[in-house]
Amino acid sequence: MAAAAGEVRLIGGWPSPFVLRARVALNLKGVEYEFLQEKFGEKSELLLRSNPVYKKVPVLLHHDKPVCESMIIVEYVDAAWAKSGQAILPADPYERALHRFWAVYIDDKWFPSMFGIAKAQTEEAKAESVEQAWAALKLLEEAFEKLSKGKAFFGGGTIGYVDIALGAYLGWAKVIEQMAGLKLFDEEKTPLLAVWAERFCAHEAVKEVMPETEKLMEFAKMLRGK
């Protein structure tokens, strides 16, 4: 269902996994939107006005009214365009609770350990972060088995809430894998997730908006240079 021009705008930056989440959700629902790319290093007036509490992307503007925080945006998109595309969250309250639980876990536990690998100053610190990241992925592998019920995604036959939460980090995960010389989504350690990762990146709603690994590598090098 196409939105009227100007009705839906997304403030964001191309490298941000959080922005990617919002874009995938909008794509899944077939919503047309204007992407307002923020200039790196500068925050626009519109962003500061729309998200005065955190001053961060992404911000979804629907009829000029802002919605902030990536997974809150995803849930909003699911509800506001409930009649379009497939449901992002399941209908059953208990299943919804499980999906929300793993999305929170991904942000609170997995992302810091993955980011920790990149930030580590010593080999010991790096090794510790790697162990934590693998341990978290092992739990997510079990969660995938339970939630997917033998199908392709955490959401079952289609991309769902947890797929978006975790999948958005895949671009950066590849960068960290290359920089650190290791595999995070390892076919031996987490075989289901290794396959899922490829499948997610190849999905129609994702492949056009997932940033290319080379571009992210350049961006990361630029950040490190600062």
């Binding site: 509490v53 919605v67 809150i72 849930e75 909003y76 506001a80 609770a97 929170v104």
Partner: protein, 221 residues
């Protein structure tokens, strides 16, 4: 008749309080199971293997962990006295403030009371900024949820009751009536609710609990 709803909780814990308050607001009967957090039961560890924390809600034998997620589940399962608005955008705003409380505000308030020196000053500055944002959000409203207690109010219950105790134990003042008149009025209105008062831990008991903890920390130095 078997009780369908059980709550694993700890009496002084504001996060498990949220769950009990939501159930009471909706008139849902439940059994609470008291956990000694220094000696957690095998049941709790089985039901919340990832975080090993309270609260955990058990409904028809299925466990749900994380207080804000439990509140969402309660709202979706029992429709009386809704704690979230119907409109998707207003729901998004409510969720935003709930996350703000957990990610920024309550952490700053808590750490202001347990740290000292420059660290404490920094946390107190952050806490005041957070309280200011909540003060603004309350403008013209009786509750964050509007005319009745909603999810944000429930999430903010530690400000209405636990904060005063922490301030006393730490010897600091954060919730200043002159600076935050809306928040102070909100506290009064919140504490008028029967559901709120029914399961609120006694102030004297919380004071004793936090004083003991403060002494334990001080004696380690």
């Amino acid at each position: 008749m078997a009780v369908e709803v059980k709550v694993f909780r700890s009496w002084g814990n504001p996060f498990s309080y949220r769950v009990e308050l939501a159930l009471r607001l909706k008139g849902v009967a439940y059994e609470h199971i008291e956990e000694d957090l220094s000696n957690k039961s095998t049941l709790l560890l089985d039901y919340n293997p990832v975080h090993k924390k309270v609260p955990v809600l058990l409904h028809h034998g299925k466990p749900i962990a994380e207080s804000l997620l439990i509140l969402e589940y309660i709202e979706e399962t029992w429709q009386e006295n809704p704690i979230l608005p119907k409109d998707p955008r207003e729901r998004a705003v409510a969720r935003f403030w709930c996350r703000f409380l957990d990610d920024k505000c309550l952490v700053a308030l808590w750490m202001s009371c347990w740290t000292e020196g420059e660290t404490q000053q920094n946390f107190m500055e952050q806490a005041k900024e957070c309280l200011h944002l909540l003060e603004e959000e309350l403008k013209g409203k009786k509750f964050f949820g509007g005319d009745s207690i909603g999810m944000v109010d429930i999430a903010a219950s530690s400000i209405a009751h636990w904060l005063g105790v922490l301030e006393e134990v730490a010897g600091i003042s954060l919730l200043d009536e002159e600076k935050y008149p809306n928040l102070c009025k909100w506290t009064e209105e919140f504490l008028k609710s029967d559901a709120v008062m029914e399961c609120l831990p006694k102030r004297a008991n919380l004071l004793a609990l936090f004083q003991t903890r403060k002494q334990a920390i001080s004696s380690v130095k």
